[in-house]
């Protein structure tokens, strides 16, 4: 599994990369939506994108819209990871095509549970 981690904060990228690596992901980083689109346009295949909302050049919502317009990128699961926490904003992101929404701050367990729901991380077999 490969994940694209998009955030203008290098610290935040490092945190998210750390959590995803521990869950077995390979990661690629981008500092804004435009850089992230460049990664996808280079043909690098990713299963998951963790997307900050507020970023310069191209924000997370614009990135989601851009990805959703491309048929060949349908396989990318889109999860917003942001401090934006209003009900209406979550609705907007989901309507634009995001699959999940994680509000900062979060714990590693929370990331794992979200990715399990999305089918990207195995759920341990129950006895």
């Amino acid at each position: 599994m490969r994940a694209l981690v998009i955030d203008d904060s290098r610290t935040m990228r490092r945190i998210i990369v750390g959590v995803l690596t521990a869950l077995g992901f390979e990661t690629v980083e981008a500092a804004d939506g435009r850089q992230a689109l460049d990664v996808l346009e280079q043909g690098i295949e990713v299963d998951l994108a963790c997307i900050d909302w507020n970023m310069p050049v191209m924000n997370g919502l614009e990135f989601v819209v851009a990805v959703r317009e491309r048929k060949d990128w349908r396989g990318v699961t889109l999860m917003m990871v942001t401090t934006e926490s209003e009900h209406g904003q979550i609705v907007r992101a989901l309507a634009a095509g995001a699959h999940e929404y994680m509000i900062k701050p979060f714990t590693p367990d929370a990331v794992k549970e979200k990715l399990q729901l999305l089918g990207l991380v195995e759920i341990e077999e129950l006895v």
């Binding site: 209003e86 929404y101 509000i103 367990d109 549970e113 129950l126 006895v127």
Partner: protein
């Protein structure tokens, strides 16, 4: 700081008698860290003096507070995901088919036993909401801890708690913003009733139940208590009802009155026919 042996013995015994939770030797750190806040609130510096005071003058509410402090309330939304899928994909269809044959009431009665702060019963309600009108579900949520019941009744959860396993589409559909928190909205809220109940006692009102969630609590009990609790649960259930246990729990080797049914990658339990009177 080390706990005096008789402090640990007293607390372990109290907790065992009142909740059946086993505090094995080696759990001194747990007793110490859980009771220190209570000791501090009482104006004392350490747990030994706090417990000495309780032993000299036991007060029901203080004893209860000690037992509550030793419960582990860790929980999350849709914990382990699979049981909730099994509920929707297997249990409900079976129950609804049975209803048309007159076997089950038009309302599905579910008991979320040891529900902690309410994430489990509300997750059940949300999972069912996709296939059943809220008026057709009656969820009885019980726990030993008044503090946890209070939290469940408030229906209010912090952002950190919301992040733990609640799918975003469910969040926007069933919750409203309440300051920095989120609050479960109607009509799902009224589908869940909270009630104090000790698993060592007779079943709560609200039954007989079609489905019982008894998750992540048997692990704290010894074998005899597990048997005893499973037997009581059995008595609270309708014949043909389903039991859902935690990821590390099973009836196998504990109580053979149950039959394991594999559903997808998880299992549910059903009263074995010969016992289902």
């Amino acid at each position: 700081m080390t706990l005096a042996p008789d402090t640990f013995a007293f607390v372990a015994d109290l907790v065992r008698r009142r909740s059946a939770i086993q505090l094995e030797p080696g759990k001194e750190y747990l007793v110490e860290s859980r009771l220190l806040p209570l000791a501090r609130t009482a104006g004392l510096l350490d747990v030994d003096s706090y417990v000495r005071g309780i032993r000299a003058a036991p007060h029901p509410t203080t004893l209860e507070a000690v037992v509550e402090a030793l419960t582990t309330n860790e929980t999350s939304w849709f914990r382990d995901a699979l049981p909730f899928r099994a509920l929707v994909d297997h249990v409900v269809p079976e129950m609804l088919t049975a209803t048309t044959s007159g076997m089950f009431a038009p309302q599905l009665r579910i008991w979320s036993a040891a529900c902690s702060s309410g994430q489990e019963p509300y997750s059940i309600a949300m999972a069912l909401a996709d296939v059943l009108a809220p008026s057709r579900m009656k969820i009885t949520a019980t726990d030993l801890s008044d503090q946890m019941l209070e939290r469940g009744r408030s229906g209010r959860y912090s952002q950190l708690e919301i992040n733990r396993g609640l799918p975003a589409p469910m969040l926007v559909k069933h919750f409203t913003r309440a300051g920095a928190d989120w609050e479960i909205a109607q009509p799902l809220r009224s589908a869940v009733t909270f009630q104090r109940h000790n698993l060592l006692d007779a079943p709560p009102v609200g039954g007989p139940f079609d489905v019982v969630f008894l998750r992540n609590v048997l692990i704290y009990f010894d074998l005899a208590t597990k048997r005893d609790v499973l037997r009581r649960v059995q008595q609270a259930m309708r014949p043909g009802g389903f039991l859902l246990l935690g990821a590390a729990e099973t009836t196998i080797g504990v109580d053979d009155g149950w039959e394991r049914v594999s559903v997808g990658r998880s299992s549910v339990y059903r009263l074995a026919p010969r016992r289902a009177a």
